[in-house]
């Protein structure tokens, strides 16, 4: 999987580093002082690197647990995100990570214990209030599980902190580590979907819709709380029929009474990210359409965005009660 693993000097002897390296005995190990030397240089091309990303093992010093943007959440008042991993195994053309990072290498922060300490600090601040922690913001929460052992570490952690709720957001079918554990009530495994037509055009290397649905069914049967995420909503001519078919396919097999939440959000990118992505993929039809720029946020023209959100909300409410639906209302 990896030909080269870059290792920060500081974490060279870390047990998690040793475990990851043991998994890839043939990979060449390259020592570096700070991961930014490899990850941050200017003249890198995300698109080229996506052909063969390397793994970087690093220590996360600051900003480990951050507040989510306003409007991002599942009804809770205290919402945080944390990223043990930067970048994603998959290659979705609409993903903001392409515009955010110069490098497509995966950065795995191995100091999980420090993330845990910061989560605890947030819980202390919150007193008796529930806090939500979203883990799939800068990566897919489960896709790299065999390498990262993230779930392996953090589920026992969250199981002992009932006021700390975690969302694992994924397009992966890496559910083995979940299936071998007893479900905990404060974890939501949220699967992202777009219609088949969008999946084929834009979600490269992502498991098929059917495989993801099978993974969800296995988890639901095991008693895990599940979420569905339709974020971002992507326009295609005939999107109504595509999304309607997707919803029917999912809700005809999933037990909607056992769902924790369903959320949807329009396609939006900060202007700089959008520009970066267009520079990387000037030939991508997704970015040849017309978009609006409202105070630095690029989105579909307002009328279309509202129409799509309203349509999908209406359709979803035919399958689930309103209390489960969380439209993402990021401020612009």
């Amino acid at each position: 999987m990896f030909n080269h693993i870059y290792i920060e000097k500081q974490v060279a002897e870390h047990p998690r580093t040793q475990a990851v390296c043991a998994r890839f005995p043939k990979a060449t190990r390259v020592e570096c002082d700070r991961y930014g030397e490899v990850f941050n240089p200017n003249a890198q091309d995300f698109r080229l690197q996506k052909r063969r990303p390397s793994l970087i093992l690093a220590h996360k010093h600051h900003g480990r647990v951050l507040k989510t943007p306003d409007g991002y959440g599942l009804g809770g008042h205290r919402n945080y995100y944390f990223s043990h991993l930067l970048n994603c195994l998959y290659d979705c053309r609409y993903c903001f990570l392409q515009g955010m990072y110069r490098s497509a290498h995966y950065v795995l922060y191995v100091n999980y214990e420090d993330f845990g300490a910061d989560i605890d600090a947030r819980l202390v601040e919150a007193g008796n209030e529930v806090c939500w922690f979203f883990s799939g913001y800068d990566c897919d929460s489960l896709a790299m599980e065999p390498v990262s052992a993230f779930v392996e570490h953090f589920l026992p952690f969250f199981s002992q902190r009932p006021l700390a709720h975690i969302e694992l957001r994924t397009k992966s079918t890496q559910i083995r580590s979940l299936l071998k554990r007893t479900p905990i009530p404060n974890a939501v495994i949220a699967f992202s979907f777009t219609p088949e037509e969008i999946y084929r055009a834009l979600e490269h290397k992502v498991p098929t819709l059917e495989r993801r649905l099978q993974a969800m069914l296995q988890l639901q049967q095991a008693g895990w709380r599940l979420g569905l995420r339709f974020d971002p909503l992507i326009y295609q001519p005939g999107y109504q029929a595509h999304y309607r078919r997707l919803f029917q396919q999912l809700f005809s097999q999933l037990n909607s009474e056992q769902l924790h939440s369903v959320s949807l959000g329009p396609f939006r990118l900060p202007r700089d990210f959008f520009r970066n992505i267009v520079q990387l993929y000037p030939d991508e039809p997704l970015f040849a359409g017309s978009f609006s720029d409202t105070r630095g946020m690029i989105s579909y023209p307002q009328g279309l965005e509202q129409e799509m959100t309203a349509f999908c909300s209406r359709e979803l409410l035919q399958h689930i009660p309103e209390s489960l639906l969380f439209p993402c209302t990021l401020a612009t």
């Binding site: 030909n3 080269h4 870059y6 060449t28 390259v30 020592e31 570096c32 002082d33 030397e37 490899v38 240089p41 003249a43 890198q44 091309d45 698109r47 080229l48 690197q49 052909r51 063969r52 390397s54 490098s103 290498h105 326009y235 001519p237 959008f274 267009v278 990387l280 993929y281 000037p282 030939d283 991508e284 039809p285 970015f287 040849a288 359409g289 017309s290 978009f291 609006s292 720029d293 409202t294 690029i298 579909y300 023209p301 307002q302 009328g303 279309l304």
Partner: protein, 279 residues
């Protein structure tokens, strides 16, 4: 398109023969050899010479094009056998301590190694690494002109703790590079393919310049036109970049407006959306 930067004539000779390069140009004291999409410059030894030669060669790249770059030469190594081919996964300038990490995207069998650039020949090989005298001059300069994935350093081990560099001759340098030609050629072809893809993605619409020559576009308008031409290329790949009646427009702004309206009409969005808010 690939640019090869080589320190010594003895290292260059096998490459010149292999790629049938001819040396008609001498610029700034550097001889440049070319054939088709391959250029080679002989820099002379040392990182400053290598940086200068690289910059000189970069001056010949057509605007908007991105070349692949490969520094080829011999290097010492603490333990690797002579003749071993190495690709640098890390380049360190010993004088400054600065390091660079060329991204390793190519699926080649060549071993990769840490390459330390020194100012004087290294005889003690303190670290388990390769030692050369050019890479830290070449790499940061070439990376200013191309994305780092397209810039690599390839070395053939010429000396080690067992076999001193003192025994090296021009003939032995040539023999070492000749022995590494298969690996070098695979590297050259793979890098050229990468550069080809990169340039293809970023090629502007072929008819863009035609429009630019017909109206006066400000710098800002030129950017807008380039962006509209990009969208045109994706949405209307088989249609010329032209609209009926465009020839009657006297101002560049009107041309831009026509093109934008035409493209927006092909893509989603309610008609009442304010045009100035469009991207």
């Amino acid at each position: 398109m690939i640019n090869l930067v080589v320190a010594l004539p003895a290292e260059a000779r096998p490459l010149i023969e292999c790629y049938r390069l001819t040396g008609k140009t001498i610029l700034g004291g550097f001889r440049i050899y070319r054939h088709a999409d391959i250029s080679l410059i002989i820099s002379g030894p040392g990182k400053v010479a290598s940086a200068a030669a690289t910059a000189l060669l970069a001056g010949g790249i057509p605007p908007g094009k991105h070349a692949a770059w490969l520094n080829i030469g011999i290097a010492g190594h603490a333990s690797c056998a002579t003749g071993q081919c190495l690709l640098a996964h890390r380049i360190t300038d010993r004088a400054t301590g600065h390091s660079w990490y060329p991204p390793q995207l190519l699926d080649l069998a060549t071993t990769t190694a840490h390459l330390i650039t020194v100012d004087v020949p290294e005889n003690s090989y303190h670290q388990e690494a390769a030692y050369d005298m050019e890479a830290s001059g070449f790499y940061p300069v070439a990376s200013r002109f191309s994305s780092t994935e397209l810039v690599q350093c390839f070395k053939v081990v010429s000396d080690n703790r067992e076999q001193s560099a003192d025994t090296l001759t021009a003939a032995s340098c040539t023999r070492l590079v000749t022995a590494g030609l298969d690996d070098i050629d695979r590297m050259v072809r793979a890098l050229m393919a990468l550069a080809h893809d990169y340039n293809a993605w970023h090629a502007p619409h072929a008819e863009l310049e035609q429009l630019v020559s017909q109206w006066h576009f400000t710098v800002s308008q030129r950017h807008q036109l380039t962006e509209l031409a990009r969208r045109w290329k994706v949405l209307l790949p088989h249609q010329p970049l032209w609209l009926d009646g465009l020839e009657k427009k006297t101002r560049a702004a009107a041309v831009l407006q026509c093109l934008q309206q035409h493209l927006d009409a092909l893509t989603p969005g309610p008609a009442e959306e304010s045009a100035e808010h469009r991207v």
